[in-house]
């Protein structure tokens, strides 16, 4: 009895693993046949249920992926046949379906030799008509093979909320009759895909959930193989690999944030650093926003100590990034880099120009950066005020703690002068 139970749970775990490996390919192939991502997912689930019923009895087939694919495809074709029959009864032509069924062996003919199905599926999941949250949920579900429950736990939202998002997203796609194709305006649509992947990564990174970062990295690497000529994909992977290499060093023993320059570089993950630098090399000479951010991350990764950082190069990379993005946040980062490269006065000059920038009025990093430059210039009273202001603006408790600590350290100039420091 206990042996049989063990065997059954073993098979269920095997089926889970096969599902993780195969589900995206299955759903992609099925969507091409039935032209509806919701129906495709249902059909794939049906095949999974069939496996759960048959495999414990008959054993796991030699090629479990092929078994699932052919089971699911036969179901898809049955569905199309019924649909065609129905249409004929309605005296409609349903010619497209008939044509597809006239091929000698519809199952073989429906093979996808170049992996385009997966790419089409990614573009559907990240379609601009969907909200960002819906894109994230659908991508993790369809491409990442995550269950609704796993997505809910990763994003700390109730499971029904995620389920609703996914149902609504599928309905939106069906109603809009979004075609299952690689879009002609590939670069514009790619932006949305990369944004979704980076969002997933950042959620994992800032909420300290490494699993989610791994999911994002895997999606990014899949994407890189599908569109290997797009430099920004490699840029994004490089950026994520290098950031992930610092995952363990960016928080201290009690969960406090450790700034990049104070991290223990010996504990960075050099397998990921190496992969990141290789991905960056693959991006070539292009200068898109992800490639530039990855190049900046690579400057830090290459420096064995914080003091060896090539700040001049970082400052010039930020300058190019500002030209592309026109973002005041990036300009602020440039100011910090300039401060490191050419001294705090040069950095402060740029920061002061940003003080009136409306987009940065409630951004805590502006007073924090200004406070840092002022304290380096010995203007401690002003520095303390800026750190306190920054602490009042941040919503992150750990960051607030760090800023208040810096405010305390800045002390009072008067007191210091009197005590002769």
């Amino acid at each position: 009895m206990s042996v049989a139970v063990t065997a059954a749970t073993d098979i269920h775990r095997t089926i889970d693993a096969v599902w993780r490996i195969e589900s995206a390919k299955l759903i992609g192939a099925l969507t091409r046949i039935v032209r509806d991502v919701g129906i495709a997912e249902d059909l794939a689930q049906d095949a999974l249920v069939a496996a759960l019923q048959q495999w414990p009895e008959e054993g796991v087939p030699d090629k479990p992926g092929a078994w699932l694919m052919s089971t699911a495809k036969h179901r898809a074709i049955d569905l199309l046949r019924r649909h065609a029959l129905f249409e004929r009864k309605q005296e409609e032509l349903g010619r497209e379906v008939e044509l597809r069924l006239e091929q000698p062996d519809p199952v073989d003919a429906l093979d996808d030799p170049v992996g385009d199905d997966l790419l089409r599926l990614i573009f559907i999941a990240c379609h601009p008509i969907l909200s960002t949250e819906a894109r994230v949920a659908l991508t993790l579900r369809l491409l990442g093979g995550l269950t609704t429950d796993e997505i809910a736990r990763a994003f700390l939202v109730p499971e029904p909320t995620v389920a609703q998002r996914i149902v609504r997203a599928k309905r939106t796609l069906a109603e809009a009759q979004v075609p299952f194709e690689v879009p002609r305006d590939l670069e514009a649509r790619l932006e949305s895909v990369l944004e979704v992947i980076y969002l997933i990564f950042n959620e994992g990174y800032s909420a300290l959930r490494p699993e989610l970062c791994d999911d994002a990295l895997r999606l990014g690497r899949i994407m890189a193989e599908l569109v290997p000529d797009e430099s920004e994909v490699h840029g994004l992977i490089a950026l994520m690999e290098i950031q992930a290499s610092r995952f363990n060093t960016r928080t201290g023993p009690s969960g406090e944030l450790v700034p990049l320059l104070e991290q223990d570089r010996r504990r960075w993950d050099y397998l990921l650093v190496g992969r990141g630098l290789a991905a960056l090399a693959r991006a070539g000479d292009a200068h898109g926003p992800y490639v530039l951010q990855a190049s900046i991350a690579a400057c830090h990764a290459r420096a064995r100590t914080a003091a060896e950082t090539d700040w001049e190069r970082i400052a010039s990379l930020y300058e190019t990034l500002v030209e592309i993005t026109r973002s005041p946040v990036v300009e602020l980062n440039r100011a910090v880099a300039v401060g490191m490269a050419r001294g705090p006065a040069a950095g402060l000059e740029i920061v002061d120009e940003l003080m009136s920038e409306p987009a940065l009025q409630s951004y805590h990093f502006l007073p924090a950066a200004r406070g840092d430059l002022l304290s380096k210039l010995g203007r401690l009273d002003e520095a303390r005020e800026e750190f306190e202001r920054a602490a009042g603006l941040t919503r992150n408790a750990r960051e607030r703690e760090l800023l208040l600590q810096r405010a305390g350290n800045s002390g009072s100039e008067e007191r210091r002068k009197r005590s002769g420091i």
Partner: protein
Amino acid sequence: MRVLVLVKASKESEHGAMPTKELVAEMGKFNDELVKAGMLLAADGLHPSSKGKRVRFDDGKKTVIDGPFTETKELVAGFWIWQVKSMDEAVEWLKRAPFGGGEEVEIRPIFEEADFMEQLG
């Protein structure tokens, strides 16, 4: 999680015999699949142990031993590092590898910092 997949040496690999064209092609296809799935982090094949060396550490004494080493089954001929969700997933991937001549391939989870933290309490 990450796993190290160890391909054990065989008489052939120890003799430095090159694999057949067919096997190389099939292995290439398998590796392509791993790359396309976004889970292959690193991979390499090793020269036979005749080109290897060992250093033995006794009480303050270090002895260098030249290959070849005899216990073929314990030797490693190549490795992969994979990123997977579970050991089950690693097993499923490995089952797809184009072996079939009595090779034994071992999957070992790699320690992560979190594991050390747990052990250190």
